[in-house]
Symmetry: C2
Subunit: 344 residues, 2 copies
């Protein structure tokens, strides 16, 4: 994790000064990041690279996600929470491939005004979730930026050879399943920004937490290796993400809006304003798993879900054809448009 810098800022470049407390990049790495990299393969972050090893007989999987201040999180969001969300969106991608998390490398581009208090909070968040998910920091890069905080995590997972679950295996008659509850992420963004009119404080808090801190399905995901025919994690919205599965699998899907599992808080929010159904169907940031599997496997899936204490719900079926159709309780198609949804 060598600090990476030009010999001096190029002429014409914005001036980038040392951070306020004057701790150099080497000291920052030694203080905040080296304690997170106790694994011998990380070489204490002193080398140019780290070793990357999987368990014997396992295959490695790699994913990468970036977060930018002002785009993916708010400037005032607690650094600890930013760190945990950054790790968790990556862990959710690994779970969606049915891979068990192993470790990660990290890049931080920080403006000079961010002091070591921010970095200490950020490192504490990483440490917390390293412990929660049993992962290790393997290396990284630490640079200055005249712009917003920009963070990148490349995460590594492992899976039995040939058993990673892709998006392209959905087949006609497969059931469409989701984990947990859907729509909390999008409703939570409204709640976190004071725009969820009419919700009770406990519901607002529940939904905002769901938006701020995803719960990657790192236990159940790997258990579905070789069993689910297609899988991804819902980050772009239920209908949009199911669209990715049917497109790469060259099939169609029908989902039953009434079957979509909702939290109590989301149910209450929909009762106040039924138009919020469009957020449930097409809002993002749920980080729940969306997967398909033949109907005869339903009982196996329920047992796995029980074992991992993750609720799973069938919400529809794969068909021959193209596209995603959503039907209400009467079987009438719900059409999504940019402005919301309407019945036909």
């Amino acid at each position: 994790m060598a600090p990476h810098r030009a010999p001096e800022p190029p002429a014409g470049a914005a001036a980038v000064t040392e951070n306020r407390t004057g701790l150099g990049e080497f000291d920052r790495i030694a203080r905040f990041f080296a304690p997170l990299a106790a694994d011998p393969d990380a070489f204490g972050l002193t080398d140019d690279a780290a070793l990357l090893r999987s368990s014997p007989g396992r295959e490695l999987v790699v994913t990468v996600d970036a977060m930018v201040e002002g785009v993916h999180f708010l400037p005032d969001d607690p650094a600890e929470l930013v760190a945990r969300k950054l790790l968790r969106v990556n862990l959710s991608d690994l779970a969606a491939m049915a891979a068990a998390p192993v470790g990660y490398v990290l890049t931080t581009a920080l403006p000079a005004q961010r002091d070591d208090v921010w970095l200490a909070d950020f490192a504490r968040g990483l440490a917390l979730d390293q412990a929660t998910y049993g992962i290790r920091l393997l290396g990284g890069d630490s640079v200055s930026t005249p712009g917003p905080i920009t963070l990148t995590v490349t995460a590594f997972g492992e899976v039995e050879p040939g058993r990673a679950v892709r998006r392209n295996g959905a087949r006609p008659d497969d059931l469409v399943w989701v984990t947990g509850t859907i729509g909390d992420g999008a409703l939570g963004l409204l709640a976190a920004t004071g725009r969820l009119v009419g919700a009770t404080p406990p519901h607002r808090e529940f939904l905002a937490d769901r938006y701020r801190l995803p719960q990657p399905r790192s236990g159940l995901g790997p258990a579905l290796a070789g069993l689910a025919t297609a899988m991804l994690d819902i980050s772009d919205g239920l209908v949009g993400d199911l669209g990715h599965i049917v497109e790469t699998s060259r099939v169609a899907a029908e989902i039953d809006a009434a079957a979509i599992p909702l939290s109590a808080a989301a149910t209450a929010a929909l009762a106040i304003d039924p138009a919020r159904l469009s957020l449930v169907l097409s809002g993002g940031d749920d980080y729940e798993l969306l997967f398909t599997a033949p109907p005869h496997a339903a009982e196996d899936f329920r047992r796995l879900a029980d074992r991992h204490k993750v609720p799973i719900t069938p919400i529809g079926r794969i068909r021959a054809g193209r596209g995603v159709t959503v039907r209400d309780a009467e079987g009438v198609e719900i059409r999504l448009s940019r402005g919301g949804y309407r019945h036909f």
Copy 2:
């Protein structure tokens, strides 16, 4: 390589609009990046993650480097060159571990004003160096930013198990070697920014090119696996980087300034202003290998260097003790200070 975005910019965040030409992120990925990811393990960039495989019996090595517009490159630098430098600084880190390059994942955080012409040039640069170094794009993330272009590459290499060369193995009496010529990077930054007074146009051009486009030693580096006792690539400057080796190896080093290999352009620049020696000794961005090895191995190293057509030069020796000492042709110690250097 899923485009990653919040459902909408959070309240209070800078507005981030679609790029000017209106190509969405999915289309941008399909047009510019998917052609770079022909490898089946990359799944055409349609999935949440990619497979990461090494050759049978090899161990994987991972490194990561970020570059920020205005810090590591100029806003007007050609996008093709930015792409190639981004890959090459990572490949240089792999070479420094004696690892042969395999592939990489990429994160781009781009401001809305950067149009698809920039991205097309950037992708062409990646394609060029993928071919040059035999590497493949495995995945990535593409986000918007209200700030400067921020790019991260996580690169993967492979090495025989246990033969990666670290920084901590230098032993007393080892020779200190460098590849290529030293100081061109720092002098090249002066040349590229119009500050290398007195140099001829061909010399300015040569040096500026050396600064703009590193030549990672991706052939020789892996050949030194298990042979060099310590190695890194010179990015922080010869003396500073040798300092990293002696610190982690708990030894000292003496180098002979007169033995440091210089390009004709650097020799001319020093003749014009001998004070520029400080840039040769402590300027960065050379991306040459600096390694140590027992003296009896010298002939083996020369043969390997010949085979890979990379000049190597012994410039000093490891001693017991601490720190790095530089001596001039008369054996007098040259002391480096922030302002330059002085004789004692």
